[in-house]
Symmetry: C2
Subunit: 454 residues, 2 copies
């Protein structure tokens, strides 16, 4: 690839890896700056990750929570998008190695003056990647669509099944991990079974569905204050979810999940649908970057960056978002939650740092401004922790709704989502309950363009 | 499966196979009748097939042109839905054989008093099914999503390609078949390349894209009067489509399409994207049903039914829609186009026939009322043939818009589609330009639920 040689000579080249909250915000923050920005991502869209679970339950369509990167950056003339996977960093020669381009012509490299890496995070399977086939992850769009088809197909199977035990296995849903995504998903499945699809079936009573929410810690929503965790637990129980705190998944098969309780005993629960939302781990890019820079990596795979988000010994390399932890000037490591606001603030900070450096202005260390934390539990219920103010119930839910609509990218999406939600709320329906399986032949003309976090 | 034994004894059982325009209309037409209706389909949704090509170009999301069968029939208490594939007909014992149920427990049978079969049609590959991998069909939702990803990935590949000849191959799109679907698709790709994505790319000039529309006949839109065909041809040419009439595809590879011209010579055109919309053939159910009844099948696989849409010797078995041709009482076979209005009218007729027979009322033969024919070519252009009145240009396009919105199932869909179209029209944007590939592991918990026509 020789695109890099077309650039006007002398312009400062900023290479941004990853078009999520952090990376895209960094790119946009450089709009109008005298730099040349290249955004590299394996996907052609940015994803509003906090609402992915709504795609998994059929409440929203993919296009409502995803926007093509090229459309977003169409008017930013100093930015271009490259659809590729980053496979290596050559920090000495200031280059990254790319592969998996849609034209299948092998690897290439891209040079930079400033590198910004924002690869995000993914779920890991506690070292058991083989569980993924029976418990898809709820983080990517592809995972959410897979989960949607499985949940809907499970209700269909229950409708046809006449053996009560087998039917119950089809109506048992295990959600692994009680962070915001797991909590929201469990609540939505319970609502789906009790409310939304109940009248759709003639033989199966979907109200008998069991939703197990398995969490290794002793409370759910660990990033929230304890009282809000307890409120969320009660609210979920009222919806029909069974929280299983201090429990760990130790095995996943296509018709059962093995769960170890606090007493150490393992029980096999017959369940045909399992959903994975546990074990948050930094993107593999963090490990590759840390190796290239000789930087530290923590247990969750996050690379340690300095107070200005740069890598030790490499002020020209910044890393942002879920895949980093920040060491302050005094040497203390500040634990920051893996949330969209952190990523957005770091992206904005990185853009400002690049601008300030170019102008020779002094720079300040990154400082996170905590604006609060939100999680929904079901229709019209949520918990919120806004600057120490604890909200729950309907008020928290309205806050959640407004915040999420506000941050959704693009006017059209916001309108569509608002209409969808209004209709869903009024009719208790779900608009996008489609079981769509990929065609059985492999795509031949173009290579798979998958999820960078998978 | 013993569901069939739960039915209240003595009620007339109507079994409808296929939830497309014809089958679903028949089910709905039996609402409130003293019958017990079972609708069998391999998919859990009904598809608004005339707009599938809009999903393929990213103008619409799948949920906007598909509605879950269970939601549609939720309030029709005498109807139930079974997700299964019909593999055989036992007309003597009045049973159908089902397989491929989501619970993977093998085959079963369902009895009936009246059987209504509406399996629709599919595209065939002139006996070369191996072409499908490189030229996906534009009829199912899965096919449309596959095509969408390929078209968008082709633009991405062109952006990265520096060899002019190879770039041109990525920017060459071959649409096979110039019926309404092929014509609409070709026009939309041309618009996409010239208008919509042009500003998204920095290296590739998408305006140089070539769209070849290959048709074996001597004019496009054969179901329309010749003057409208010619108008459509000119309009497509102005959009940048190259119509290739009297041409036949004789080979498809991942990087080229072999096309035989009217002089018999074959040329290999370098093209990375091919789309199949040719060779309309009746569903395999037609052949199975014809064999069971000893009925005739024509060259396109359609079964011949009597004036009341019943099979010869089996008044209790009706067949409808794209998979049949009707023999009038005088023995003449009436050619009917494979269009939604025909299917809808036959579905309504079948429901009325069942009601009339139950009441002992006399029945009349089916008669098709031709309300006209419509096809769009691009933004604000269309051709229409309404009872001999030929429209083209903007007036035809508005007619097309109103008719299609009117027939879209469900209030929510209509609202969403109207908003999408308004925004698309105003901004020349496309909301759903997402490349989503399925996860690479096979779904293990549930079997694939594919497209009944694939």
């Amino acid at each position: 690839m020789t695109n890099a040689t077309h650039r006007p000579r002398g312009r400062h080249r900023v290479l941004v890896v990853g078009g999520g909250f952090a990376g895209l915000r960094a790119v946009r923050g450089l709009g109008g700056a005298p730099v040349e920005v290249t955004l590299v991502d394996r996907q052609n869209f940015t994803l509003f990750q906090p609402l992915v679970y709504q795609v998994a339950t059929g409440a929203l369509s993919p296009a409502e929570i995803a926007a093509p990167l090229r459309s977003i950056l169409r008017k930013q003339r100093n930015a271009r998008v490259v659809l590729a996977e980053v496979t290596g960093f050559d920090l000495e020669h200031r280059k990254v190695v790319l592969e998996h381009l849609p034209n299948q012509r092998g690897g290439t490299t891209l040079g930079y003056d400033t590198l910004i890496v924002a690869g995000g995070s993914r779920y890991n399977y506690f070292g058991h990647d083989e569980w993924q086939a029976d418990a898809p992850e709820l983080k990517s769009l592809a995972g959410a669509l897979d989960i949607r088809s499985r949940i809907l197909a499970a209700f269909e199977a229950a409708e046809l099944e006449t053996d009560p035990a087998l039917r119950q296995a089809w109506l048992t849903f295990v959600v692994v991990g009680a962070g915001p995504t797991g909590v929201e998903m469990a609540g939505q499945i319970a609502e789906l079974a009790r409310d939304v699809v109940r009248a759709d079936f003639r033989s199966a009573d979907t109200r008998t569905a069991r939703v197990l929410l398995v969490e290794a810690a002793n409370r759910m929503l660990m990033s929230f204050p304890a009282p809000l965790s307890h409120k969320a637990t009660s609210a979920l129980e009222r919806l029909g979810v069974t929280p299983m705190l201090n429990h760990t998944v130790v095995g996943v098969a296509d018709d059962s999940v093995a769960i170890r309780g606090p007493d150490g005993e393992v029980a096999e629960t017959p369940a045909r649908t399992a959903i994975w939302a546990a074990g948050v781990t930094a993107s593999e890019l963090a490990a590759r970057l840390a190796e290239a820079a000789g930087a530290e990596v923590d247990r969750s795979g996050r690379v340690t960056v300095g107070p200005d988000l740069s890598l030790p010994g490499h002020p020209e390399v910044l890393a942002l978002g879920d895949m980093v932890r920040v060491r302050r000037a005094d040497g203390a490591i500040v634990p920051l939650p893996g949330l969209a606001p952190v990523a957005l603030q770091q992206g904005r900070y990185a853009a400002r740092l690049v601008r300030d450096r170019l102008l020779g202005r002094p720079t300040r260390p990154f400082r996170y401004v905590d604006k609060g934390d939100l999680a929904t539990i079901g229709r019209s219920k949520a918990v919120a922790d806004v600057k120490g103010l604890h909200l729950s119930g309907f008020a928290a839910w309205v806050t959640w709704l407004v915040v999420h609509l506000f941050y959704l990218i693009g006017f059209q999406n916001r309108m569509l989502v608002l209409i969808r939600w209004t209709v869903s709320f009024a009719t208790r329906g779900r608009g996008a309950r489609l079981i769509v399986r990929p065609p059985e032949h492999p795509p031949a003309t173009t290579p798979p363009i998958g999820d960078p976090k998978a």
